[in-house]
């Protein structure tokens, strides 16, 4: 494949407080290619949000490297990051929290441009109007404040704001989990349409496997701060290797009463290993985090250690 748009090697972010160190993300390595959607799935505390924010360089990683467009952005300071901020944008989980309650929608949309000093006042306004249309909001929204909107509409404003700078890469952190089911589908479809239209690359973070499957090309499973499995989505759903991935897949409720299965796989929640085991490639672009013992346990026969994913 071509060069990855974003590449991460052995990334780690720890949080320290009086009770000790929390290794929120540890030893994560992955590549994201231009135009694809990489889904990141994991439960609360799995470090998926921290991963997203570290990739955005909102946090400074403890160690590891991040390359964006073949450029090492791990240690750039805020001034050098500023031009890069145009390329990577973020969509947040809670549209009630992520938009300023005091600004009009127009101001919210134009803010990114004025921060990056792009265009004249009039150009910004025009752009805001065209973006409103793109995300399916009426033009009259421009003069409204955010609390006049419902959850789904607010999330549309959030998406429009993220797109104002024409980024290449979007990190969507649980963009639909605060929304009602019937609105969720509309927002997911919108995100898909925009991806096609604007050739966007997504990192799609969610706890909902169904949603991740719908949105993604490849899926990464996070568990307690480690990346434990990474594969194209159909491969992952057909052939999960890691016991946690298996449990996760077994616990999604199937929306079909005819296929209720009382004899599902038991749920296994493994202990967190002290060090993240390395990822091994078992073919089909399928990577599992496994050490020598695990390889036997998981009955992996043909595998190949990924040199680039070791450390």
């Amino acid at each position: 494949m071509a060069n990855p748009l974003l590449s991460v090697q052995n990334l780690a972010k720890y949080f320290e407080d009086s009770t000790g160190i929390l290794k929120a993300v540890d030893g994560v390595s992955l590549d994201i290619f231009s135009g694809e959607t990489l889904g990141v799935v994991g439960e609360s505390g799995s470090g998926k949000t921290t991963l997203g924010r570290t990739l955005m360089r909102l946090y400074r990683p403890v160690h590891g490297n991040i390359w964006f467009d073949n450029r090492d952005i791990t240690k750039l300071n805020e001034n050098k990051l500023r031009p890069l901020r145009k390329e990577i944008q973020m969509i947040f989980q809670d549209p009630y929290e992520s938009l300023s309650p005091r600004l009009k929608v127009g101001e919210i949309l134009e803010e990114p441009l004025s921060i990056q000093k792009i265009g004249t006042k009039q150009e910004r306004t025009e752009k805001a109007y065209s973006m409103l249309e793109k995300v399916g909001l009426p033009k009259t929204s421009y003069h409204k404040t955010i609390h006049e909107f419902s959850g789904g509409q607010r999330q549309r404003v959030g998406i429009a704001r993220a797109l104002m700078l024409e980024p290449k890469f979007i990190i969507a952190d649980e963009p639909v989990s605060a929304l009602d089911v019937s609105v969720q589908a509309q927002v997911l479809n919108l995100l898909k349409d925009l991806q096609k239209e604007l050739n966007l690359t997504y990192l799609f973070i969610s706890h909902d496997l169904g949603v991740v499957h719908y949105m993604s090309d490849r899926v990464a499973v996070m568990y307690l701060g480690h990346l434990i499995e990474l594969a194209p989505k159909d491969e992952l759903f057909r052939n999960p290797i890691h016991p946690y991935t298996k449990s996760l897949l077994a616990s999604i409720p199937v929306a079909d009463p005819e296929r209720r299965n009382p004899f599902r796989e038991p749920i296994i929640l493994p202990e967190k290993p002290l060090y993240p085991p390395q990822l091994v490639n078992i073919g089909n672009n399928h990577f599992v985090s496994a050490n020598v013992v695990n390889i036997k346990e998981y009955e992996i026969e043909n595998y190949q250690k990924q040199a680039s994913y070791n450390y």
Partner: protein
């Protein structure tokens, strides 16, 4: 009457005083039969929680039941006094809430808390309480009940707290459990464990469950009968197989169609707009699907449930033309 454990008839609940009246729920009728799991599914603001709270007369202070009857084992409990309700609550009917944290007393060992009901309702002697508590903890899946017995709520994770809540709820062997979004804030792996627990209690004790949820996946896995609520009305009701095989109301269709299904590949998700025109009514009476989005305002046009096939009810508007408000 029949084998209904719970029967709600024409329930209407409103909030506020005479000047600012807001009807949250109207014309809600539902039955819960013995050893059945009945799901009440709806989105935010549909009135599903309010309906279930009214069963135990736990409505917020400014809300009241305007009319309707609620029968628990053939006894109209709307007319019961607070004292009589207390005997019922936690004893014959118990409730599991979304937020276990609010329910547990942070300064009390969880082992002691789960037997509060036994002490109060069953007048169990103190000597038996501890062994019963350990037993309950074991039943809700703790491998080390003696250890958990001495923990305080803050020392437990969200899933564990939810299991403690279930232990409390089943301690008096109730015949009906009302579970209000019991797993909404939990991870999927924990969700399955919690729901399996409730389900196995139901099967082992011949009890019934009224489950309030917004998740059609959960409904498909656990429910026997389904009521779909929107804007304070029940818009469709049928057994779970019929609902999934042959949903009639566009809102139900949209809810089912909007769940991403990994097995259907990348088929585009359906939304309410997709159903707006292909199925606009029943026998000339409209569904007015354009009103059914949690983003549009609640409808107040006159409407009624009709039986589209045996035991399958769908709400239609009784006027031939209805205009959306929102």
């Amino acid at each position: 009457m029949d084998d209904n454990v719970l029967k709600i008839k024409n329930l209407k609940i409103s909030f506020g005083d005479k000047k600012n009246k807001f009807t949250a729920v109207s014309d809600v009728s539902l039955d819960v039969k013995k050893n059945q799991t009945v799901a009440l599914i709806g989105e935010s603001g549909s009135g599903k929680s309010i309906s279930s709270l009214s069963v135990l007369q736990l409505l917020p202070s400014n809300g009241r039941i305007e009319n309707g009857e609620i029968y628990f084992k053939n006894q109209d409990i709307v007319k019961l006094t607070e004292k009589e309700m207390k005997k019922l609550r936690g004893n014959e009917v118990s409730m599991i809430f979304q937020d276990a944290i609010a329910l547990l007393n942070p300064g009390m060992k969880v082992g002691v808390q789960i037997t509060e009901g036994l002490k109060y309702h069953k007048l169990m002697p103190k000597s038996d309480l501890k062994s019963e508590a350990l037993n309950l903890l074991k039943n809700v899946g703790f491998n080390n009940p003696a250890f958990v017995y001495n923990q305080y709520p803050d020392q437990l994770s969200g899933g564990m707290k939810q299991r403690i809540q279930i232990a409390m709820a089943i301690s008096c062997k109730p015949q009906l459990i009302i579970a209000d979004e019991p797993t909404t804030s939990l991870d999927v792996t924990i969700q399955r464990q919690v729901l399996d627990l409730i389900n196995s209690y139901k099967d082992n004790h011949d009890a019934s469950v009224l489950m309030i949820t917004h998740d059609f996946g959960v409904v498909a896995e656990y429910a026997d009968w389904v009521y779909v609520m929107f804007g304070g009305h029940i818009v469709e009701s049928a057994d779970v197989f019929t609902i999934f095989k042959n949903p009639v109301h566009p809102y139900t269709k949209a809810l089912i169609g909007s769940i991403p299904n990994p097995e259907e590949g990348d088929k585009r998700l359906k939304t309410i707009q997709d159903y707006a025109f292909d199925n606009a009514g029943f026998e000339g009476r409209p569904f007015a699907p354009e009103m059914f989005s949690s983003e549009s305002k609640v409808f107040h046009a006159p409407s009624a449930l009709v039986e589209v096939e045996p035991d399958h009810y769908v709400r239609v508007f009784t006027e031939s033309e209805v205009v959306a408000i929102g």
